[in-house]
Subunit: 557 residues, 2 copies
Amino acid sequence: MDISGNGRRWDLRNANREQRMQRAAAVLGDACRGKVVEAGRIQDLLHSVLESGDRVCLEGNNQKQADFLAKALTKLDPGRVNGLHMLLSVLALPEHLDIFENGIASRLDFSFSGPQAVRLARLVAAGKLNIGAIHTYLELFGRYFVDLTPRVALVAAQAADRHGNLYTGPNTEDTPAIVEATAFSGGIVIAQVNQIVDVLPRVDIPADWVGFVVQAPTPHYIEPLFTRDPAQISDIQILMAMMAIKGIYAEYQVQRLNHGIGFDTAAIELILPTYAASLGLKGKICQHWALNPHPALIPAIEAGFVESIHSFGSELGMEDYIRARSDVFFVGPDGSMRSNRAFSQMAGHYACDMFIGSTLQIDLQGNSSTATAGRIAGFGGAPNMGADARGRRHASPGWLKAGRQARDGKNLIPRGQKLVVQIVETFREHMQPAFVERLDAWELAEQADMAIPPVMIYGEDVSHILTEEGLANLLLCRTDEEREQAVRGVAGYTPIGLGRDKRMVENLRDRGIIQRPEDLGIDKRLATRDLLAAKNMKDLVRASGGLYDPPKRFRNW
Amino acid sequence: MDISGNGRRWDLRNANREQRMQRAAAVLGDACRGKVVEAGRIQDLLHSVLESGDRVCLEGNNQKQADFLAKALTKLDPGRVNGLHMLLSVLALPEHLDIFENGIASRLDFSFSGPQAVRLARLVAAGKLNIGAIHTYLELFGRYFVDLTPRVALVAAQAADRHGNLYTGPNTEDTPAIVEATAFSGGIVIAQVNQIVDVLPRVDIPADWVGFVVQAPTPHYIEPLFTRDPAQISDIQILMAMMAIKGIYAEYQVQRLNHGIGFDTAAIELILPTYAASLGLKGKICQHWALNPHPALIPAIEAGFVESIHSFGSELGMEDYIRARSDVFFVGPDGSMRSNRAFSQMAGHYACDMFIGSTLQIDLQGNSSTATAGRIAGFGGAPNMGADARGRRHASPGWLKAGRQARDGKNLIPRGQKLVVQIVETFREHMQPAFVERLDAWELAEQADMAIPPVMIYGEDVSHILTEEGLANLLLCRTDEEREQAVRGVAGYTPIGLGRDKRMVENLRDRGIIQRPEDLGIDKRLATRDLLAAKNMKDLVRASGGLYDPPKRFRNW
């Protein structure tokens, strides 16, 4: 016990941890051997280790889910444990919200809630859930070390040994950041594992950092989030991909980049070995990636386009391919990948020259959002990638050029800038226009009582907007009006596009601020699926030499 | 061996690693037991493991130095190993440059070079050293995972066990990021340790990630970089500290922050328990920090001002105090601190509302730089802290207020903004004005053939400039001219300050853009050393209850 001169104790966190550990030991008895707890006693473990009001980090990642622990949380007695403050990267499973519905938790800080966005909005409206804030991944991890430090972390790993060392394998994702913040602040880490083994393939998390290990009855869930079937890529997406490569990748010599998720970016990946190669760009663009192991990138890797890929997480079915391509991926001595969302986000933010991704809505200032009324979707990693790293100081040709374009003629000291590209078709599904006067985010902000509208990527941070109609370079715009007309000028037949000032748009085109496919020297007739290096899942498997093993739902042959 | 259909091998990195390991085994024989190599054979180990042209990360941190390995590098035979591409966070030791002088290495990517800045510039001019780029810490770490992945990493740890597990203890700093990037890309990690023990206090780096361990003849060097003797704080610095607290900390309710290094910020830390407490600010400001364990913060911690501190590295002499204040610091189960520069920089960038720090020169746009002619000093972490995190989405009162002030009346969607404060006396030592027409950085850029001038913090990113004359709020400036006059208006009797437009400055004062001490309700007569909660090193020791044990050079009583 430490008591300072003023009589205050300064080791309350550790003392409290000790109490929790003792409660667990008393309740579990022989059901806990060393750090290994029997799965059937998980409720007892949680009841003894948790206290009402605790900040609890539950590993709900972009892909990997601590689903057994999530389900166990939902079944706690709210009379004994309630008012938990949940920290989750991603609200992916129904259980993540059942915890609130069942009265176990009341407050939530998170990053992304894709599949649960509608139900989340309902729970907020019903007063069952109070949102602290919506984050991007890196800022949520950052807060784990500042003002949102977890008391208890519930994580998922591939395997543990009997000492409690963890093997997270290819799907490491958020685990290191979560565990470090918890273990070194007097918190308790509980890991569900798929198996307990004598010798781990490698140690990812040292046993010293782990409180308890439970072998779950079924392996933890993983979502193959980054798999796109090339069969669904349209000619229009190929046209946009051609414009991206010629108008941006080649123009700015983009060597280090991140791709957002979706068919638009999959199309780009799939025409690297065909279209980009035909332009002589092999070795000149796209050599270094911060990216999940996208199956659509296999043909480009095989063609020697890609030097390195560091990944946020892994992708189901890519394990053997990654193992056999250890020159490209970050692979451990055991042959399986090491991913790390915190470090890959850091790399994507600071070491990449370009981010390109899709969105649902763009307004006249270029602000974009995936939030729509009644859905609290969150941001994930896109805003971190899709923003200039103002703390970056090293130069590259593309970064310098973007900076020059943005600052030319202004009274500013020279500086580089990140390329942030929004790629959208002017109409999305159900003929909803992608361009709008006013983002739905405004309405959502009112509904959910947010301080400011949940913008995914701010117009100020966007360098280019790319649609099937053309490419708008916002870096070159000098007034609000120019920027508005640049947006309208690529917004096609949407009301926003139809509302353009034709003379001004033609003037922007003369100045190279708007470029049509023909301005880029692109023959639209070539924009067909013939350019795809793989036209379907089977082609991807073939390109991988049979190493890629797609999940069942993608096996359509 | 993996050969794909196209006949290319994809495991060259691992195969090459294997060759290096075999060379080492053949040369070392019994001098290598498991992973432990005899210190006397370090040259043999490096000669067999390194190849000319390798990218080599040498752990030169802000504080901890792999000095034994650095010295060993300088003694290699340049006929056998040359053209190394060195990656270092900090060029701190003469050996770091001897490696170049001796013809072992030729290229350098780094972050900070404080003590070696002059010699670095000379080596560049002599063509003995080619600089890739100057980075901030986080972007250099990011590049380790993208296009600057090390083949060999030479790191320092407190202890190892016989398996090769590492204990980095309080001085973890950069080690986790360096080791992860190297170990998972077929690279080789060599660690110098102070001792080899049977059982480590805790495992910080798993043995699976480590290639070789060498017990160095002397403990690795650590610089107590963040210790400031309160005896050297002046009344003027106390006046500025009062303005900071009343004009910024209280005004924006700053709860999460980072302090740059120096006496200016030490003064702020030392009047928290006196002046800030007298304003009723305890519990309302400064509760959460991303900060090295500054001894000057001891009185504020003891007074209950501080809830949590996450640290980039540790500080010599603070070990026992930290151990006894585990509620405040991030401490492992062994009682010693866990620092982590990558995670703390992440936290500082994304989870802090304010950065305040000093600089050497500020120009009329508010751009600041520590670069002066003939010195290539680098940036360290300041630009990362001293910039808006554009990927941040969670709100706080101060962040929202700064964003409102910056955007009010502009055609922009609401957004928050980070507070970035530059605190300087108008004249620095030798009566050099801190305010200049043109930064020396321009001259240095020409000398060293840099693409753009090495600006530390860009004027666009600065929210406030604070001098003994007053506080300028740049967020509220609406034109280049207003900004220039706001800078001049706090530049005192420097030529820049004397060149002010007096009417315009008075107008800015009327609008609250410039605030004098009296405008802030600060009685200058109270700005004396009497406000310091500790007036000298002995007071700091006393405040710590005898737990703080300053390094010898600071023991002046």
